[in-house]
Amino acid sequence: MKGKTAILEGSRAVAEAVRACRPDVISVYPITPQTHILEDLARFVSSGKLKSQFVRADSEFSAASIVYGASAAGARAYTASASQGLLLMNEVIYAMASTRLPVVLTAVNRAISAPITIQPDHQDTMSLRDTGALQIHVESMQEAYDAHVQSFRIAEDPDVQLPLMVCMDGWVISHSYEPVTVFPDEAVAEFAGSFTPVQKLDPSNPLTYGAYADQDVLMEYRYAMMIAQEKAKDKIRSVTKEYREVFGNFDGDLLDTHCTEEAEVVLVAMGSMVSTIRAAVDELRSEGRKVGLIKVRTFRPFPRDEIIAACGKAPVVAVLDKSLSVNSGGILATEVKSAFYGGSSQPVIVPFIAGLGGKEVNRRVIKEIVDIASRAAEKQGAQETVWMGLDRSFFS
């Protein structure tokens, strides 16, 4: 499928994808750096380019609730937010996931207060990791577009029926411009299909949503989401495969790898820093260093088996986290470690905290990480978390 390539802002790329997927209801509340998506969609609807119900919300809480209600009424629904806004949506997203409402949400990653900042990191979406919503992390504007085109089908699949968050770093993806290939609306609409809910609020078959339950079924409903997320893995694989067949693009399914063959150090990361790591890995490989990269694309469902397989026989795995569970460590690193626990191969796993609050993660930092991780190979046992760029003078 031939598309039109143009220099587009990441937010515009997302808005183009969402428009072509024809959501029935859109409700979004402004927050930096998500607003450009909201503004584009508002303009599309006002100009008649998109026939959706566009509802101005009075808060992120209401925005999430509005798409919740719309989805329950059988509509394809979309929202977006960032940072504090995602935290404000947190309670709604838990309920949305457990009620199995397949809303698509763009999460424009931004750090959490305090101190207040609009810099990107992953603390916001990590705070929603246990909601039951699926999370796809993208590394580029093109992937932001591709992932949104894929998102509705994955979320709305009868075996899945979970909210899906496409996570993209604020500014680096949302406010930056790059060549993005946008495919014809009709082709995207055909790919995205339409939403056929298995149940909905309907007077001809009155159902009760949000029933009160006690110990007899609550645990069972949490478990049902575990099953649905496992099933989502196959769905994500098949949708991304089909996307490659139709449109030619492939950004990975559950994960993507780069130069992992015979790698002595494998870096594991998510989001926009993956691109910079690719560049650093290429430079290191050209210097003869055996370094590889695993991009975790779906943080939920978590690709534990795929990560183990992709790490292969690499003796050292360095995990880069843009989020922190205080007094525990990097969240991705914790999950990677738990994936390996009890398995036959046990690489040395070195956790790195890098890029919190937008602290720069450039090729120099990546190479430093590779050096530290290589040295760690000699040390047995659990590895200390390494904080990159931390100004320790404050703590001496």
Binding site: R100, L207, Y209, G210
Partner: protein, 85 residues
């Protein structure tokens, strides 16, 4: 037994719950006095009062014995009796 998707349940399944077991007092209708005005049925929180040909009838399967019917009856056709368990 299926676990309904997303906790979404069917309508009206409360009808199987016999809330009449909650009762301490039961309303008793003196059908000779009843004028079939329907006030008791209007105000009954549990939809237990049915106005039949010969007067109001209490559906004791659901009646929780609140006695609003007794209080609101304009002709004092309803009295209470202690529920025998």
């Amino acid at each position: 037994m299926d676990l309904p998707l997303g906790g979404v349940c069917k309508a009206g399944e409360s009808r199987k719950l016999e809330t009449g077991k909650w009762r301490s007092f039961r309303p008793v209708v003196d059908k000779a006095k009843c004028i079939k005005c329907g006030r008791c049925a209007e105000f009954c929180p549990d939809s237990c009062m049915e106005i039949k040909e010969d007067g109001a009838e209490v559906n004791l399967y659901y009646c929780k014995g609140c006695l609003i019917c007794m209080r609101e009856c304009p002709v004092d056709a309803i009295t209470k009796e202690v529920e025998e368990k």
